[in-house]
Structures are given as structure tokens and as C-alpha cells.
């Protein structure tokens, strides 16, 4: 029986490791090839603190968790700067450095000889030795780890992580500090791996670097991916299938070495085949039963003011909501903004028009902090925001949309909007775990508000669908609902009507007018002067990084000089 209980314990440990990695990889979109390294560092920390410092068991577990959490925090900083292949390689390098240290720093780790004589833990006056005695402890560990990961994954915090995974830029644009969440998810993932590590060291009573090598990191990534990223149940299924099942093979009457090779062969081939035919893994992120949220609920009555959350303090002073002065920015030799000044009057729709390449989108990027201006200032409601990060400007009440919508494509429509709501207690670990009722209440309110935003744009009935499955016009509306949800008072819309059919254009323009009527300050970038005329109170005409005219849209259209610039000078 001990043998099978041992297998169950190993599955439990792998569930912990897999879940910790899934949080990072499936939710945060951060590929780490170093999970085994964290596991190992935690195991060594627990082993050494127990054997050499004589710490008692629960304390050694704490040591393991603290050490892995801190280490994860340290690795995050270089990892923040890189993405994609670079992140894979960076974490791979980290894995190799840690493994090399375990092998070579013999004075501390005893190299490949390993550390033996790790004391068995004593709990409630009983020393745990056999797999059966360990089972409750490991099961509890797996349960707690899973519960923590699940709580995070399926909370507002998990929603932000998924948003970050799907589109970092758009996550910044809804007022979330990508940096903060990356550090957070790395640390949490490291800490959860530390739980597994602490238990593992005491359970095996012996550790050596072999258990923490690159192969194991690769195995963990494969396990999570085959199980299904972004769904923790998939990881559990993966651990049972790929850790537990092969042990059955031990009972085949065949040579051990061949059996092991066949297992790996099958495992490798499965990985290739899954990537081709079922990349979402055994249990996909949006498995049955998980997609229904928001559907079937009656959409609350839609009154424009009711659905408009407000982030900052109410501003009812006179004067423009946003003022930019003397902005300059150049790329290479091209001046994208050249001593550019503008002001957005409160509660009005202002348009930024001009030919392609005039620098309109650049202006948005400068105003919202996505680009740093070389000179000039931006002030929002009288406050200087020139040097602020994009997510901070959103918190202060200035938000922007993107020409190419940039929805969080693998999330539901409702989640796309929900994630943008400001100040959600469930986005922080403290309230999430220690004030569950407040978190739940806030979530209920936020849901209503998000559904309200969706009802406002007329898409409440699509709330449960995956964003990428919507038509482009609908996606634009979702993006608008998401923008409204940030609660910003000043909204910058980049080509809200481009790429959609006429009936959609009318609908979007109507919504923009309603927003302005409700007191929002709106600025749109637009090519189509007809659209501008229909919606804007005031327009700036840009060319080559400068504003060369302003006035009512009809006035600008009547100006033959501007027509020349827009349509080109006729040749004589």
C-alpha cells in the first residue's frame, strides 16, 4: 500500500508545482523554464534550516516559502524587461545557474552527493515517516495550494493577470500596473512552489540537485500545457495522468530502461500532437459550465448616468479638463509632435483630424504617458501628469482606446469590461483572502456595473461570449464599454468609427454624444471629417506634428487650404 500512497503523494507534490506554474504561465502569460529551480532552492532552504539550524518542521516550511518568494521577486526584475523567447531563455539561464550552483557550491549543498538526514517532521506529537503518515499533510498542502491559486485565478486579480497575458498595452490602458502584477504573480508562484519544496524535502528526507534540473522544469511546463493553461483543474488532471499513470508501467513485465524510454516517447509525441490538434490542453480554459457567467441575468435598467462610474473626485470647475502645452517628440528625423498645444473643454467632444501620418495617434500616446515627451507639459484637471505612467493617468481620470481595439481576446466580453473597473478590492491579496465578504460584495456591484456598461453599448446579451468571437463592430463597442468602465472623465478615442459599417458608425457616434451629454470629456482621432462633423463640437487640424487650424468642424471643412492639405495640392 505504501507504494501507491507514495505515488499519490508525488501526484500531490506535482499538483502544487503545476498549479504554481499555471498561475504564472496560464494566467500571467509568463513562460518560466525555472520552476524546478525555485522548487530546488526551497527544498534546500527547508533541508538546511532543519538539519543544520535545527528549526522545527512548520518553521522550515515557512523558510522555504519565504526564500522562494524572495528569490522569485529578485528574478522578476530582469524578467520584467523581456518577453517571448527572451523570457524563455532568461528563465532557462536562471534554471541552469541555480542548478550549477547546487552542483558546484559543494560547501553549502554537498553537490551531487546531496543532503541526507533531513529530520522527519513532528506534528501533533507524532513523527511522520511513512507515505501513509505523510498523506494527510501533503494532501492538505495540495488542497491549500490549489485553493490559494484558484482563489487568485478566479478572482478580479486573476482577471487582471489574464488581461496582462492577452495584451499588456491594453492592460496598462485600463489603469493596471503591469509591473506590479508581474512581480506579484512571480512571487506568489514562487511561494507556492516553496510549499511543495518544503514538504518534499521532509518527505524524501534526502535531496540532491537531480530533482531540480532542466528536465524537471521542462516536464512541468509540458504538464501544465498538456493539462490546459489557464485552468487549474487541467493541471490536476495532468499531474494524475503524467505522474501517476506511468507508475503503473512499473508492473509491466518488460525491461525497466525500455519502459521508461517508452513513457518518454509517448509523452513527447503527445506534446507534439496536442500542439497540433488541441493546443488548449486536456481541460481548456473555457471549459463547459464556465462560460455562462453573466448570461441569463436580467440586464439592469440603462440610464446613462447610472452606468458611468467615476474614478477621481468630481470636477465641476470651469476651464478645460485637459491641457497640453508645447509637446515635442521625434522619431529619427521625423517630427511626430512639434510644439503642439491643445485643450479639451469639459463635457464636449473634441476631434483631432488630419491626413495619415500627421501624428494624431502620437498625440494620444504622449497625453496618456505611453510615450515620453521630449518637451512640454500635460495637465489633467489642473494637475501635472506629464511624466506619469499610463496606468496612473487612467487612475487620475484620463483613459484612451486603440485603433485596433485590443480586446483581451481569450476572455469573455463581460470580463473584458469587468477588469477595467477601478479600485477592486479583489485585485489585492489582502482583501482577497482576509476580507472575502467585502470582496464578494464589491464583485457583485462591479458585475452590475459592467453589465450596465455593456447594456449601454447594447451588448449585454453577449456578455458570456469569448471576445475574439465577436464581429469587429461589436468588438469596438466592447472596447468602448471597457473604456467607460475605467471611470475616467476624459476619454481619448482613437478612430472609434474606422473599419466598421455605416450602421455601426451611427450607433457609436450616438454613444459618444451620450457620453458627452453625461459630462464626459471626449477627444477622438478621426480621418473621416463627416464623422467629425456629426459628433464633434470642436476640432483641431493636424499636419506633420503641428496643429495648423482649429474651429468648428464645418468651418474646417470649408477651408480650402485644409482641403488642399487633406486631399493634396492640385498640380497646375
Amino acid at each position: 500500500m505504501d507504494f501507491w500512497l507514495h505515488v499519490v503523494n508525488m501526484i500531490g507534490l506535482f499538483i502544487m508545482l503545476g498549479v504554481s506554474l499555471n498561475l504564472l504561465l496560464g494566467y500571467g502569460g509568463l513562460v518560466s523554464m525555472a520552476q524546478a529551480a525555485f522548487f530546488g532552492v526551497g527544498a534546500y532552504a527547508a533541508a538546511l534550516s532543519a538539519r543544520d539550524l535545527g528549526l522545527p518542521f512548520p518553521l522550515t516550511l515557512v523558510v522555504a516559502i519565504v526564500v522562494t518568494t524572495l528569490l522569485a521577486g529578485v528574478v522578476t526584475f530582469p524578467a520584467l524587461r523581456v518577453r517571448g523567447e527572451y523570457l524563455i531563455l532568461l528563465t532557462l539561464a536562471f534554471q541552469m545557474v541555480i542548478y550549477g550552483l547546487m552542483l558546484s557550491w559543494v560547501d553549502l549543498t554537498a553537490g551531487r552527493t546531496g543532503i541526507s538526514g533531513i529530520p522527519r517532521p513532528r506534528l501533533f506529537g507524532k513523527t511522520l515517516v511513512t507515505p501513509a503518515e505523510f498523506l494527510p499533510l501533503i494532501a492538505a498542502g495540495a488542497l491549500v495550494t490549489f485553493a490559494i491559486a484558484y482563489r487568485i485565478g478566479e478572482s478580479p486579480l486573476g482577471r487582471v493577470l489574464k488581461a496582462m497575458r492577452d495584451d499588456e498595452t491594453a492592460t496598462l490602458a485600463i489603469g493596471k500596473s503591469v509591473l506590479r502584477y508581474k512581480v506579484l504573480v512571480f512571487c506568489v508562484s514562487g511561494g507556492l512552489a516553496g510549499v511543495a519544496a518544503g514538504l518534499f524535502a521532509h518527505y524524501q528526507a534526502f535531496i540532491n540537485p537531480f530533482s531540480f534540473n532542466l528536465d524537471r522544469s521542462i516536464f512541468l511546463v509540458a504538464l501544465v500545457v498538456l493539462g490546459g493553461t489557464g485552468n487549474l483543474l487541467g493541471t490536476v488532471a495532468g499531474a494524475i495522468l503524467f505522474v501517476g499513470l506511468p507508475e503503473v508501467l512499473r508492473f509491466l513485465q518488460a525491461r525497466q530502461d525500455i519502459v521508461d524510454a517508452i513513457r518518454n516517447l509517448v509523452f513527447g509525441l503527445l506534446l507534439v500532437l496536442f500542439m497540433r490538434f488541441r493546443p488548449e490542453g486536456l481541460v481548456p480554459e473555457h471549459a463547459r459550465g464556465r462560460r455562462r457567467q453573466g448570461v441569463g441575468q436580467p440586464a439592469p435598467a440603462v440610464s446613462v448616468t447610472g452606468i458611468l462610474p467615476s474614478a477621481g473626485p468630481a470636477h465641476d470647475g470651469a476651464g478645460p479638463a485637459l491641457v497640453a502645452q508645447g509637446l515635442r517628440k521625434s522619431f529619427g528625423g521625423i517630427k511626430a509632435a512639434d510644439d503642439l498645444s491643445l485643450a479639451l473643454p469639459r463635457g464636449k467632444v473634441t476631434a483631432l483630424v488630419g491626413p495619415n501620418g500627421a501624428g494624431k495617434t502620437t498625440v494620444f500616446n504622449l497625453l496618456t504617458g505611453f510615450l515620453a515627451a521630449e518637451a512640454g507639459t500635460v495637465s489633467l484637471q489642473g494637475e501635472d501628469i506629464t511624466r506619469l505612467a499610463p496606468w496612473r493617468t487612467v487612475r487620475l481620470g484620463l483613459a484612451r482606446s486603440f485603433q485596433d481595439v485590443r480586446l483581451f481576446e481569450r476572455m469573455t466580453v463581460l470580463d473584458n469590461v469587468l477588469v477595467a473597473l477601478p479600485e477592486q478590492p479583489g485585485e489585492r491579496l489582502g482583501p482577497l483572502f482576509f476580507a472575502p465578504r467585502r470582496t464578494a460584495e464589491a464583485e457583485r456591484r462591479n458585475r452590475d456595473q459592467a453589465l450596465g456598461s455593456l447594456a449601454f453599448v447594447g451588448l449585454a446579451d453577449r456578455a458570456g461570449e469569448i471576445a475574439s468571437s465577436l464581429a469587429f463592430g461589436e468588438q469596438k463597442l466592447v472596447a468602448l464599454a471597457r473604456l467607460i468602465a475605467t471611470g475616467a472623465d476624459v476619454l481619448l478615442l482613437d478612430e472609434p468609427a474606422s473599419g466598421v459599417d455605416l450602421q455601426w458608425v451611427r450607433r457609436i457616434l450616438g454613444l459618444i454624444r451620450q457620453l458627452a451629454a453625461a459630462g464626459k470629456t471626449v477627444c477622438i482621432v478621426e480621418h473621416n471629417l463627416e464623422v467629425v462633423t456629426a459628433v464633434a463640437d470642436h476640432a483641431y487640424f493636424m499636419e506633420a506634428g503641428r496643429i495648423i487650424a482649429e474651429g468648428r468642424p464645418e468651418e474646417l471643412m470649408a477651408d480650402p487650404r485644409l482641403a488642399d492639405i487633406y486631399f493634396g495640392t492640385s498640380r497646375r
Binding site: 528625423g333 521625423i334 491626413p355 495619415n356 501620418g357 485603433q403 475574439s468 469587429f472 478612430e495 474606422s498 473599419g499 466598421v500 459599417d501 455605416l502 480621418h527 473621416n528 471629417l529 463627416e530 471643412m557 482641403a563 488642399d564 487633406y566 486631399f567 493634396g568 495640392t569 492640385s570 498640380r571
Partner: protein, 234 residues
């Protein structure tokens, strides 16, 4: 028979449809302009015609032969050439390498050499800069190089995507003149995507206007020019 006939062209990126059934034709020797504002699907249409994007439905007939399923390389060999809107030179290769690559589809080295002579006479600035990396050229020079590369392979139909983008007005005029000259002398057919309406009208015999993935206007350049005002179209 038209040199290029496109029927019911539909295409897009990944799952996102951008172009919803476009019919257009280009006669041999014509310069045709395709216009419309941002996001209308002009560039996407050109890419589909050049074979950079798969055809979702519809057909493309070039010189009497259906090419809708051919690879882009096969289309280039038949004489259909696209100069893209952005990144139209190999920035980290030399000007000379860029020109050679322009003629990649020309198997016969003597033809390529002759063509190189011709292009360098036409665009003398390139001759001076042969050893330079293309990325170090000025915006105008890079445009010239992009055009020169296309000419290296002696195309019959040139698809030009916003050749005036990001250029100073004076340079735009030069580019347009160059295009017209080349079209005239080499009996080249051009399908041009252009923002600058007047410039396009100055050289185009016919005009198509797109909006949200569909054609909304087809008329001669003259008729278009006669409207005098185009705010409602763009």
C-alpha cells in the same frame, strides 16, 4: 481582356475579416487608384492580390489566368509586384543587395544586369549609395529604392501601397512623376493605393473608393476630379 480582374475578393487576418467582396479590374497600361480612409481595407486587398494573404473567397484573374491559389512567388514571376506601404526595403542589407534581391525572380543574370543599368539611370541617387545599408538612406531615397527594387523584376502590374506616405510634399510630386514616367515608358500598369487624393487623381485614369471592406465608388479620374469636393467620400 483586363490585365487584372478581381471578383468577390474576401480576406482578412487570422479570424478577422477585413475585406468583404471586392470586384475590381485593371486594364493593361492603366494607372488605377484605390482610395478610402484608414481601415477601409485597401492595403489588405492589395496583400491578398499579391498573395501575402490567403483568399477567403472570390477569384483573381491575372492576364487571363486564375492565380487566386498561386504562391506569392509564382505571382511575382508572372509579373505582379507589390511595393508595401511600410518596410519596403531590407534595412540591414546594402542598397546593392536590395537591388539584386529586387530581381530575385529573374532567373537570367544578363536580364537582371541590364535592368540594373536601367534602374540606376532612372534613379541615379541609388548608384551613389550602393554600398550603404538601406536603412541609413533618407525617407525619400528609401522610397526610390523600393520602387527601383520593384522595377528590377520588370513587372507588368505594379501594386503600389501609399508611395507618398511620410514624404515631404516636394518629394511626393517627384515620386508621382516618376511613377507616371515609368508607366508611360515601360508600358507598365499600376494599381495605386493613395491617401493624397489630388496626387492620385493627377496620374490615375480610374478610381475606386473603399469603405469598411467594400467598394463604394468606381469612376474615371476625370469624373472624380470634377466633383471638386470629397468630404463625403472620405
Amino acid at each position: 481582356m483586363s490585365l487584372l480582374a478581381v471578383e468577390g475578393l474576401a480576406t482578412g487576418y487570422a479570424k478577422k475579416q477585413i475585406v468583404f467582396g471586392v470586384d475590381l479590374r485593371v486594364e493593361a497600361g492603366e494607372i488605377v487608384a484605390l482610395m478610402g480612409h484608414n481601415g477601409a481595407g485597401k492595403t489588405t486587398s492589395l496583400k491578398a492580390i499579391a498573395g501575402l494573404l490567403p483568399l477567403w473567397s472570390g477569384g483573381i484573374i491575372f492576364d487571363g489566368e486564375p492565380i487566386g491559389q498561386a504562391t506569392s512567388a509564382a505571382r511575382v514571376r508572372r509579373g505582379l509586384s507589390l511595393v508595401p506601404q511600410e518596410r519596403f526595403v531590407f534595412a540591414d542589407l546594402t542598397v546593392a543587395d536590395n537591388l539584386e534581391l529586387g530581381a530575385f525572380s529573374v532567373a537570367d543574370p544578363t536580364i537582371a544586369a541590364a535592368q540594373r543599368e536601367k534602374v540606376l539611370t532612372l534613379l541615379p541617387v541609388l548608384a551613389e549609395r550602393r554600398r550603404q545599408l538601406a536603412g541609413t538612406l533618407s525617407g525619400g531615397e528609401q522610397r526610390m529604392l523600393g520602387l527601383g527594387m520593384a522595377l528590377m523584376r520588370r513587372p507588368r502590374l505594379l501594386l503600389l501601397d501609399e508611395p507618398s506616405l511620410g514624404l515631404a510634399p516636394l518629394l511626393v510630386e517627384r515620386i508621382m512623376e516618376t511613377i507616371r514616367d515609368i508607366a508611360r515608358h515601360d508600358n507598365l500598369t499600376v494599381l495605386l493605393v493613395e491617401q493624397n487624393v489630388r496626387h492620385a487623381l493627377a496620374i490615375a485614369q480610374r478610381v475606386y473608393i473603399m469603405r469598411t471592406g467594400r467598394l463604394i465608388v468606381e469612376e474615371t479620374g476625370a469624373a472624380m476630379a470634377a466633383r471638386g469636393e470629397w468630404w463625403d467620400l472620405f
